[in-house]
């Protein structure tokens, strides 16, 4: 055949195969579309059911919180910021890996990202939803939450734009909007595929409306590709700025252990670290349930492990740098704070953090462990536990022992702190289960685009 794909040697010359199993365009469509079209697996009902129960539990506790006030939490006088801020920072951080994969790896032309970017972006959106929950409810009188926005009001007052807490409002809401738009733009051509495959009139109409009448014409692709590139270019500085701004919530205060310039890069690295761990956890489960080993290959997992090794060491460097500066500054409050972190009443939390975030990822130096799926599954969960403890250590140790020893107190959570946090997992997984059931969770368009036969240069002319 004149136009047959050149021999595999030539294809290799254009870059290694990214997707396994000699896929054709049609097999990609089939494999991914049928997940949303075929019957629901039993395991899905189990997972979804548990998630919804957790969600309901969390929301009933939030109801009680709104009724009763933040007194039901474990907050005390020096520790006025408890799990709510810890959970907020943790969830926002998890979201950042989705943007890193969809935007930053796109700008760096890392074409292997096509298998994982769709569900990583979805994870971003759901994680930011969970994150946004906590600042909203932690104000206690939730009906006053509109104070956070510059809305004209009866008091003729405006919010203080020099407060990092207000920067947060703008950064996180912009971030959520941009992530949602980016995700939807990516979905449009895939929804058109589902539209064209739909059997029932109802499904055809729903998919038709949400795919906006996409025709896949190059006059459309031309603007579409540029819009995608521009969104990636906008999301990249945005994601770096969002977690930098989150870190200024701490860094602009005068509390020892918070008042440091290392916070923005340190928080960004930690965010990417924990986010990749969450992408891995979800990816390993999803590829197992839906048999997608050919799309999310061991090479994808290995590359993500290498990114975790890198960001894990950046985080580890930040921990040691903080210690060094605490000593080198000669500031006795600063020195005390860090000695107190490592050897004080929260030493158990500190060393959990060090073990999970610094020691565990070192295993990824070894190819055997980097490509061992049960091992990496456990490691990613440990990393996310460690990253939660990182935020807990920062918040609790600095607040519980500040300048005046007479005001020191030990902070411990109540059942409502724990319950609402677990409830946020319910929200996250409910959304995630709905997403993997009803929408294509791997981008068909982008996967087809990286197959060797998609490039006109790979054909004999």
């Amino acid at each position: 055949m004149e136009t047959a794909v050149k021999s595999s040697v030539d294809v290799k010359a254009h870059g290694a195969q990214l997707i396994d199993g000699n896929q054709t365009f049609h097999s990609v469509t089939e494999k991914i579309s049928q997940i949303t079209e075929a019957g629901t697996p039993k395991m899905w009902y189990v997972g979804f059911g548990i998630s919804v129960l957790l969600l309901l539990m969390g929301f009933s506790m939030i109801g009680y919180l709104i009724w009763e006030g933040t007194g039901i939490w474990g907050l005390n006088n020096p520790v006025g910021w408890g799990w709510a801020i810890v959970n907020f920072v943790w969830w926002v951080g998890i979201g950042h890996a989705g943007t890193l994969i969809s935007a930053i790896l796109f700008l760096f032309r890392q074409r292997w990202r096509t298998s994982i970017n769709r569900f990583a972006e979805a994870m971003t959106i759901f994680a930011v939803m969970c994150a946004g929950l906590f600042p909203a409810i932690h104000v206690g009188r939730i009906w006053m939450a509109y104070y956070m926005f510059p809305l004209p009001n009866q008091m003729a007052m405006w919010p203080n734009f020099r407060s990092p807490l207000l920067w947060d409002v703008f950064a996180v809401s912009t971030y959520f909007t941009v992530s949602l738009l980016f995700w939807y733009v990516g979905l449009v051509p895939d929804l058109a595929t589902l539209r064209d495959r739909a059997k029932s009139m109802f499904r055809k109409k729903i998919m038709g409306i949400f795919s906006l009448g996409w025709r896949g014409g190059n006059r459309q692709w031309q603007h579409y590709e540029l819009a995608y590139l521009l969104l990636a270019g906008l999301a990249t500085p945005l994601v770096l700025s969002v977690h930098s701004i989150v870190s200024t919530d701490f860094a602009t205060s005068i509390l020892p252990g918070w008042h440091t310039t290392i916070f923005p890069p340190y928080f960004v690295a930690g965010a990417i670290f924990s986010g990749f761990a969450m992408v891995m956890t979800l990816g390993i489960i999803a590829r197992k349930i839906f048999n997608l080993e050919e799309f999310i290959t061991i090479k994808h997992l290995e590359r993500m492990n290498i990114i975790m090794l890198l960001t894990g060491m950046m985080v580890g460097y930040a921990y040691s740098c903080e210690f060094f500066i605490a000593w080198y500054s000669g500031n006795e409050y600063e020195t005390f704070t860090f000695m107190n972190r490592a050897f004080g009443p929260y030493a158990w939390a500190y060393w959990t953090m060090i073990f999970c975030n610094v020691v565990v990822p070192q295993a990824f130096w070894f190819k055997k462990l980097r490509t061992n799926i049960p091992f990496m599954f456990v490691a990613t969960i440990l990393i996310n536990i460690g990253m939660w403890f990182e935020r807990f250590v920062i918040v609790a140790t600095s607040l519980s022992r500040d300048f005046l020893p007479s005001s020191w107190d030990y902070y411990s959570p109540t059942v409502f702190d724990v319950g609402i946090y677990v409830g946020s997992f319910g929200l996250f997984f409910t959304m995630f289960f709905l997403f993997i059931r009803f929408l294509p969770f791997i981008s068909m368009t982008e996967v087809k685009g990286v197959l060797p036969q998609a490039d006109p240069h790979n054909y004999k002319h």
Binding site: T3, R162, N218, H223, A227, L230
Partner: protein, 181 residues
């Protein structure tokens, strides 16, 4: 009525693979057609040149709106904190601009991103839930593994018979007229 239903709205030709579509696009362009489009399940590298398309103006739109957003963001903060409701914070000047950078940046990115998405929808005339290509039963393949060229009847060079044989001569796998059934 009957006459109208037989009206031809265009032609749809199918090709084998991305490379064939690319070469066919060059030939259609060289033949002088203007209102044609190349449909594929994913964007094909080099197709813009093959079709002779001009660069998308979206970048300028996004840049302009991003700047506008950043400008409005600054203006809002200045007016709210330095004019309408003067807030003294640590004895600093009312308009201490470094503190206003994060929100300025955020609003700028928000405007730019909304423009990128809705500007793209506008340039692509989306949503558009109907189009002559949907008269073809075959067109659904485009979102799966089909590679097709459509020419609209409004093209000055369009002639149902001549265009059809033109596509057959450049190696189309199948050619069909787009008309209501």
């Amino acid at each position: 009525m009957a006459k109208k239903e037989n009206k031809v709205y265009g032609i749809l030709a199918e090709f084998d693979n991305p490379a064939e579509l690319l070469h066919a696009a060059e030939k259609v362009r060289d033949a002088g057609y203007k209102r044609f489009d190349c449909h594929s399940p994913f964007p094909i590298h080099g197709m813009d040149e093959a079709m002779g398309l001009k660069r998308s103006p979206l970048g300028w739109m996004v840049g302009f709106m991003g700047m506008t957003g950043a400008g409005l963001g600054t203006l809002m903060q200045w007016w709210m904190n330095a004019v309408d409701y003067k807030l003294v914070i640590s004895g600093k000047p009312f308009f201490s601009y470094p503190a206003y950078v994060p929100v300025t940046f955020g609003v700028g990115v928000l405007f730019a991103a909304l423009t990128a998405v809705f500007g793209m929808f506008h340039l692509n005339r989306l949503p558009m839930l109907h189009h002559p290509v949907y008269y073809s039963d075959n067109f659904g393949k485009v979102t799966d593994d089909g590679f097709m060229i459509s020419v609209e009847a409004t093209d000055p060079k369009f002639d149902a018979q001549a265009t059809k044989s033109f596509f057959e001569s450049i190696g189309a796998k199948s050619v069909e007229l787009l008309q209501p059934e």
